[in-house]
């Protein structure tokens, strides 16, 4: 993949055409969970339901592991992967906490206090110094 102007933003996966192509079946699998019949199928036999979508083995493993950041790295988009989160009964804010490596309480407290500051969080180079 060519270098992109937004690649230097830390802790962020910009869902562009390359990611969309890579994550297509993963995302289609996730969105299938928006329908109760599919949720039931996934509950009954996770492997059989996943097999209906042409996901890579890595993507399937990230689903099994509920590795939320890995799912994004493999082309998942948050609006899709959050449907898998909802399937597990995880509310959006708690999913965000997990992805950012914070406890649920610490993340909530950060949001109530005004959120994550942009200062120090604009460039990857700022994170590397830490």
């Amino acid at each position: 993949m060519a270098e992109k102007e937004y690649d230097d933003i830390p802790g962020t996966y910009v869902f562009d055409a390359d990611r969309s192509r890579q994550g297509y079946w993963l995302n289609q699998f996730c969105i299938s969970l928006g329908k109760e019949a599919n949720r039931q199928a996934f509950r009954d036999d996770p492997e059989a339901h996943m097999a209906k979508f042409k996901m890579t083995e890595e993507q399937k493993q990230a689903v099994r592991d509920r590795d939320w950041n890995r799912l994004l790295e493999l082309g998942g988009n948050i609006y899709y992967t959050s449907k898998l989160g909802a399937f597990d009964g995880i509310v959006f804010q708690d999913l965000a906490a997990m992805m950012s490596g914070m406890s649920r309480d610490d993340y909530r407290a950060m949001m109530v206090a005004g959120g994550r500051s942009p200062d120090g969080n604009r460039y990857k180079s700022e994170w590397e110094k830490k």
């Binding site: 937004y6 933003i9 802790g11 992805m99 994550r116 942009p118 604009r122």
Partner: protein, 283 residues
């Protein structure tokens, strides 16, 4: 002649809809969010629109990855609230002004904006939350109290349409509405935003300073606002802050000079900064 008399900017955080649907708006967490909407609801009663042209985005509820229209105009007779994984919101079905929607579709395409036309579509929180903000509590048996023409904008797969393109589309929507002979009052909504990032290690980013400056220039110096790059939105306001391009569609449909009659800004609602403006046209 139909006339756009006001523009409304409004975040469409799903949790705002959930708070209303679960009747928990009196909880301390939510009080400051809803206080800022009290003026808006009174203002809305006094300035009741016949039609709301509502610019929003779908959050992979109705549109999946198989088809990603940049601008999709709702031309169906009505739009049911969609099931987003927890059952549909208990709010009214959205009714269209179908003749006006078709007229706008034709006018925009001849004006060289290549719209996708949706003759069947459900709508998610992106559309229903701003209506709840402005029109208050409604049950599925009620009427929203306005007709609604939805315009769904892709802001999920990069690149969303540019701020500049959205502004120009707004200008074309103004021309389309003003060429409709019926004497009706139209409001235009630009929804989504403000700063927020829902994904990965940087989740929770909020940039209140940037958000306030954005509202200032959107109102008073729209020629500056339309030049904001995608990179700036992504870096400064979080990956989902890019939704703010939809505010540019609204602003483009208004006069150059507008009166800001209301502003509300609060952090947080869930993961997001809530921003809201009511702008009246001078002319």
């Amino acid at each position: 002649m139909a006339k756009i008399t006001a523009g409304i900017a409004c975040s469409h955080v799903p949790a705002i809809g959930v708070a209303m649907d679960q009747h928990i708006t009196e909880q301390p967490y939510w009080v400051p969010v809803f206080e800022g909407f009290e003026f808006s609801r009174e203002w809305n009663k006094k300035n009741k629109p016949d039609v709301v042209f509502l610019v929003y985005n779908d959050h992979c509820t109705v549109f999946d990855a198989s088809c990603i229209p940049t601008f999709a105009l709702g031309c169906a007779a009505e739009f049911a609230p969609a099931d987003e994984g927890w059952g549909a919101r208990p709010v009214p079905v959205v009714k269209n002004h179908q003749e006006l929607a078709s007229h706008i579709a034709q006018s925009l395409i001849l004006d060289e904006f290549d719209m996708t036309i949706m003759n069947e579509m459900e709508v998610d929180h992106g559309l229903t939350v701003p209506l709840s903000v402005m029109f208050g509590d409604k049950t599925p048996e009620d009427d929203w109290g306005t007709l609604v023409i939805p315009l769904a904008v892709n802001v999920v797969q990069y690149p969303a349409p540019t701020a500049n393109r959205c502004y120009a589309l707004g200008q074309a929507i103004k021309r389309a509405v003003e060429s409709w002979p019926e004497d009706i009052n139209v409001h235009i909504y630009g929804t989504g935003g403000m700063s927020h990032q829902l994904q990965a290690q940087r989740a929770g980013l909020i940039n209140a300073t940037w958000d306030q400056q954005f509202m200032d220039i959107l109102v008073n110096e729209p020629e500056k606002a339309r030049k904001i790059s995608h990179l700036e939105f992504l870096r400064e306001t979080g990956s989902e802050g890019i939704e703010m391009v939809m505010w540019l569609v609204m602003r483009g449909a208004l006069e150059e000079k507008v009166t800001e009659v209301h502003r509300h800004y609060h952090v947080p609602a869930s993961n997001t900064a809530v921003g809201h403006l009511i702008l009246e046209n001078h002319a």
